[in-house]
Amino acid sequence: MKRHLMLTLLLPLLLICAHTARAVPPIQEATMANGLRVLLMEAHNVPMVAMQLSVAAGSRFDATGKAGTATLLAAMLGDHSARHDHRAWADLLDADAIHLGAGASRDDMSMSLTVLKDALQPGLDAFAEALLTPGWNKKRFTILQQDSIAGARKELEDPGAQAATAAAVLLYGDHPYGHRSSGTVTSLAAIGITDLQNLYAKQIKPKGAVLAVSGDITMDELLPLLNARLSGWQGAPAHDLMDITPAAVVQGKTADMQLPTSQTLVQLLRQGPARSDADFFPAFVLNHIIGGGGFGSRLMEEVREKRGLVYGVYSYFIPLAVPGPFVITLQTKADQAAEAESVVRDVMQQMADGKITKKQLQASKDNLSGSFAQRMDSNRERVGLISMIGLYHLPLDYLATWTAHIDAVTLAQVKAQAALYLQPAQWNRVRVGANLGSSTGK
């Protein structure tokens, strides 16, 4: 029974990272003849290799009304190949304990591989086969689609999933970020195998793609293995990752979803900074102070520690190619929801008005800097960070200089970001629960 499970779920979203040069092995870079960027961080303590290929083929490329296309494509690519049906494929992967995964988020689609060092060759064979020779088996498509639809139906029981569905629409409308990557019962049913093939043909290309690797291997060992398998992969995607316009800003909008639960989920939302935002670090520290820092955060202190209103209340923003969502979320029994929301709005207003102390800033900086090493503590975590660096064209010393960036954030900068982002009136709201009525919580 974890005390704050939410935080562990949250960390991958935040892509927190960085500090002390001694803790950060360098990221080595190579570019293959086909344009694929290979980024490697060596780690020789466990005889394994983890990698992730990221391609600009996320759910933002889903056609209108067909949310879930990229996710289904990822599922199809991982399921079988032209040479192996799904049964033979599963046997082949399991015989060498090859963990092959694929999935889609808003901007990118990723394919990941985790293998023991001594199974690297068959692992890479499988990885290349899945990526380059899709099987497009119609029967398998129908099964994967049906099971996804059933999964989406089951998710209608889940307040968090319902909030996410409503939030995407509320915040982004018709913009490519205006739907969840997993799709809905209706949108999944509208997808045909040709939609997957179109997305594959347009976007699954090596130019602009990034292969992030971490583990018991050197670049000299890795490159020949990749060249032997991926050099036939050619071309550039129709749309670059950065080829997207920001969504129109909305504020003061609300959406309520009825669900027969004892708690009400309250989510406040607005657009946050993009990955490339010049003030990324001050905004990042601001989020840590208000609700990203777990028990030290202002929201946790006011809503949980002082008032006992919730088990968890937290904030995060998802930095994407253009401004992604900035979210504050909590769950509490229905008759406390208005009170909890009002406490959250008070905290936001105070911070927007500049009520942030030097001491709070220092506490957040200390935690962020000190916690760098553990965020980098496994191959799979490192691969996630390296992918992000490659995909969004961040400098390769991003991790090594991260702490310096955090340390350099001033109180004035954080206050400016608070004034920019935390005005309660600029936020939107989604609630999920029973008998929501018309209470505003203001």
Partner: protein, 441 residues
């Protein structure tokens, strides 16, 4: 054929998995506190975990949830630390602190820069020995815990159904009670209950300190001697571990909840691993469960989901490191046109097949290779490494037995798998739970 199997087994053990982990270094102090250290100098980080031999099983009827409530109270201040100060101090050194409670144990853990281990052990010992336990903090925290219960159980039909199913499956064993506690018990708990629990269970003889990471054993040993090692020795009581009566036939329950789709789950009480006593049989049950539910070629997925289309997702689980017994489980999530009856029928047919037909050499070898590979992948995370050490230690198996378990997995034969499934996974020993969606107006 036998040669082929032999080669596969050799391949299996050429995996440097087991040897890549550093040897465990242990010390036991006069008052009963135990220390286990695994040094790993690959990054300047350390994971510190304090394990307590106290959990949901140590609660008395009417006071379920107490062990977990207690875990929350550990963050509410002590003689030298104000409420929340503990977390603030850990946070200031860049650590994240957290804790978890199960039926069998409670564990508190911190990931921190390696040079702060001494400091953290000092903080842990301080709150362990001198907890404040103020009523005003308790009154707030119990409300937080009720919200936690609403979020995790009341408002989650699957988890609600599993809670009901566990309670119906067992008559005596404490796994029948939810660790978070029944809501009516939470409403009745008082600070006096919490204080009594503290006095009885938070004694040095129940504590095991696990440190994994960039540390030096001798130095950690000195620090623990200075902190946990100095606490006054107190008696420890034998833990509640009753023998569950054998089931006399299949049981069924139906749980009606607001939900979208039905789910069917089956539980069966099965033995846990006792090193040197049932290695072969329990390793075989673990391998059987992996064949059913692990990897890409899992039979539940392949046969029940992909081929027969009886469910849109299905899985099973067995934890050989539980205490007393484990509640083996299998479940299927049913899509709009799938019925619980058809799923149930296919499931028992699959188990019958595993009883009558030996698993082929290739899938058996794949299952074992994946189970051992999972151990290597787990070495990649300090958290998982420390957790495995801690839980094997406090469940009574002993952390030094981890390689023996992998050996046992490696030794499992097709006949062993057949025998384990035949002996333990019987309909007459099972409890079936069906989540029936109820439309709430």
């Amino acid at each position: 054929m036998p040669l082929k199997i032999l080669i596969m087994l050799m391949l299996l053990f050429s995996v440097p998995a087991i040897s890549s982990a550093a040897p465990l270094q242990e010390a036991t102090f006069k008052n009963g506190v135990k220390l286990i250290v695994e040094e790993d100098h690959s990054a300047p980080v350390a994971m510190v975990q304090i394990w307590l031999k106290v959990g949901g099983r140590d609660e008395v009827p009417g006071k379920t949830g107490l062990a977990h409530v207690f875990e929350h109270m550990m963050f509410k201040g002590s003689k030298k630390l104000a409420p929340g100060e503990y977390s603030r101090r850990i946070s200031a050194m860049g650590g994240n602190d957290n804790a978890f409670t199960t039926t069998d144990y409670t564990a508190y853990f911190e990931t921190i820069p390696a040079d702060r281990v001494d400091e953290v052990l000092g903080l842990e010992a301080e709150r362990f020995a001198n907890l404040a336990l103020r009523d005003e903090d308790f009154q707030k925290e119990i409300r937080v815990i009720m919200e936690e219960r609403r979020m995790r159980t009341e408002d989650d039909p699957n988890s609600h159904m599993f809670e009901e199913l566990s309670a119906a499956s067992l008559r005596l064993h404490p796994y029948r009670n939810p660790v978070i506690g029944w809501m009516q018990d939470l409403k009745a708990l008082t600070i006096e209950d919490v204080r009594a629990f503290y006095k009885k269970h938070y004694v040095p003889g129940n504590a095991t300190v696990v440190v994994v990471g960039d540390v030096d054993f001798a130095r950690v040993e000195k620090t623990v001697a200075r902190t946990f090692g100095r606490m006054r020795a107190r008696d420890i009581e034998a833990r509640f571990n009753p023998v569950e009566p054998e089931p006399f036939g299949p049981k069924r329950i139906q749980v009606k909840l607001p939900a979208q789709l039905p789910m069917l789950a089956i539980t069966i009480p099965v033995p846990v691993w006792q090193p040197g006593k049932n290695d072969r049989e329990m390793a075989a049950l673990a391998v059987a469960t992996h064949i059913l539910a692990g990897g890409r070629s899992a039979r539940l997925q392949r046969e029940l989901v992909d081929e027969q289309r009886r469910a849109f997702a299905a899985s099973a689980g067995y934890d050989p490191f539980s205490m007393g017994l484990d509640l083996w489980y299998v479940y299927g999530m049913l899509g709009p046109k799938q019925t619980t009856a058809a799923f149930e029928k296919s499931l028992w047919a699959l188990l019958a097949d595993m009883k009558t037909h030996p698993v082929a050499a290739a899938p058996l070898a794949a299952a074992k290779r994946n189970m051992i590979a999972a151990e290597v992948f787990a070495q990649d995370s300090l958290y998982l490494r420390a957790k495995e050490i801690g839980r094997m230690e406090v469940s009574g198996i002993g952390a030094d037995h981890r390689d023996q378990w992998l050996q046992a997995i490696g030794n499992v034969t097709a006949a062993d798998v057949q025998a384990a499934v035949s002996r333990w996974l019987k309909q007459d020993r099972s409890t079936t739970g069906i989540l029936t969606p109820e439309v709430k107006s």
